[in-house]
Subunit: 260 residues, 3 copies
């Protein structure tokens, strides 16, 4: 089982504790307790990148700005055999896709499969962890509640112009590299086949398209394919988030050098 949250260590540890009390034999791995608070797109992207590399199992994920409101708590079985547990706010949908697509999804509403008297603010502890524990113990998905169609995650699309590619920063990773809502294919659509070493332009700054950080001097920027498969803007041995002053949601435009 894996756990992914924007809770930091302590509240994530409580989630893991609730799982351990219900399902003592479950092997639990914290995938991340460091998702940026409330950053659903960042959490979704991490799950999509990470879960295919993890063992088939139950994956609890909680980035949940709407906790305690009308948003539904859900569990989603994916074709690979995993079950994803979390809020129905787009967090789980792309990862379920990456694991082969949704086979069955249920609302988590059976009172006996939650903690008694769930709080309004900590469904990780009171709703999602118990669901994960009971799933680990073999309770069938159908017992948790009625079928549901998980909500999709909506990501801002990249824009390809005449020798320009405009994309949105999805999140800075732990090195400060800015992961973009765009893929190498979008780069090719904008600029044609780009050999590594080709230099692009970002607001007047030269940004080479390379395969890894060490192709440019320490402190210099680069564009590369992040390990998630997305385009990303980095600074070798530095932080692109700091160097460019950009955050999640910022929109940036790469241009061919020498063109307006």
């Amino acid at each position: 089982m894996s756990i992914t949250t924007d809770f930091g260590a302590a509240y994530t540890g409580i989630v893991a504790g609730v799982v351990a009390r219900i399902a003592p034999a479950a092997r639990v791995q914290v995938l991340s307790d460091e998702v940026t608070p409330y950053a659903v797109a960042e959490g979704a992207s991490l799950l999509t990148q990470a879960l295919p590399y993890l063992p088939i199992g139950i994956h609890v994920a909680v980035v949940d700005p709407g906790v305690g409101t009308a948003r539904r708590p859900i569990a989603v079985r994916a074709a690979r055999g995993d079950v994803l547990v979390g809020p129905d706010n787009g967090l789980l949908a792309p990862a379920a896709e990456a694991l082969g697509g949704v086979v069955e999804a249920r609302v988590l509403e059976a009172p006996g499969l939650r903690l008694p008297e769930p709080s309004s603010t900590f469904h990780g502890r009171d709703v999602f962890a118990p669901a994960a524990g009971h799933l680990a113990n073999g309770v069938p998905l159908a017992e948790f509640g009625p079928r549901v169609e998980p909500l999709p995650l909506r990501l801002p699309a990249p824009e390809v112009g005449d020798g320009t590619l405009t994309a949105t920063v999805l999140y800075p990773d732990s090195f400060g590299s800015l992961v973009l809502a765009a893929h190498p294919d979008d780069l090719r659509r904008a600029f044609g086949e780009l050999p590594y070493g080709h230099v692009l332009d970002l607001d007047g700054i030269a940004v080479p398209w390379v395969d890894t950080y060490g192709r440019v001097p320490a402190g210099d920027p680069l564009v590369f394919t992040d390990s998630s498969g997305r385009l990303a803007l980095a600074v070798n041995q530095g932080s692109a988030a700091q160097a460019f002053g950009l955050k999640a949601g910022a929109r940036l435009t790469l241009r061919a050098r020498g063109r307006a």
Copy 2:
């Protein structure tokens, strides 16, 4: 077994390593390695909130500004069956209470149950982790040293005035919500029965009393019952610690709106 520290990952990892060498079969969960350095009240509050949700077991906790001085290292058996291991500085007492009360407490001084030649600065590694490992292996509590009465944690009491509630910030949680040394009962003592939606005043700012973050617009403040059962001041999808510029130890006063 759980481990809770203000050490960060690396030193906490060393603690877990010492446990694993002494008690290879123990299942160890890091509850938190992110307690604010030296923040005994924050650590005590986390343990009090969290341990009842964890499996019965041994819980090592180290927030220890007095390491290497006269403060005693102790182990405390609670009525639920847990044993808490850490410094005798108030860190363990409230959690022992939450687990049913102290049944037996001992000073950790048997030289054979520590690492040889303990350092003056890292009792987590040299004293507490070995004690936890030996306890996990079944060494009786009585073999560690003489009986002791654990020191209590002293928290600043809330003050109820005529339509005012003054309370101390215990700690900001990982979302920046300010957990107060006060409970919903104190709110009722100050303001009578408050329906959700009622608006209080904090230094001229309107702060609604609600059940969860999403009841106010993103960026707006709120007062609610934190998952620890305490009152807390939050900002929906933001950080109250940043918005109000308040830290642990700060004292704040909530007032009825329209009263001085």
Copy 3:
């Protein structure tokens, strides 16, 4: 098995996931996911301090500014029986020494013992985690690739003058204590036998040589022997890194009080 990285939680979680898929029975402990990004000397120092306290096993360590360039991925068997897996950039050499010295080291190049089509930027996932998993499954070290001599880590030497000791800050630890590339022996070489309580001088500030933090008032600086066995500069219940404004790589000089 232990894992140590400068990746933060999420990418470290992916590394642990790859290990779990290849070697489901392996018991994996994250020693640290918080090494300062690109700080090879800090990572090497942590491994050197920590691994002797951990169970004999496989230790994956990745602080790897040269990922995807010509630097070699290696595995190193130490005399104690551990195998260290990581980049050949000096990160592993001091820890191998602390575990009894290098017995055998190999380049990780067998294609069947990596993930298919390794990326240029995430060898933790694509090269090092698979190697660790296969080693845990009993694949002999010799099958990974040709023998290699691991590169040493070069640390800046301390300088002993007439009543002065000049040393380089290796890293600030999680409390902000500045761990120096110098040992208590260097202090003795500079100042003779120093009794605890003796006061040294750092840029005009009095810094007592003591055995633990609590020997000076909260907020005051001190010099002590860090739990790694190195000299360190701390502030009791505070952060020396903040108080002195010093970072890894800074060079500082301790003097006898009253001498130039």
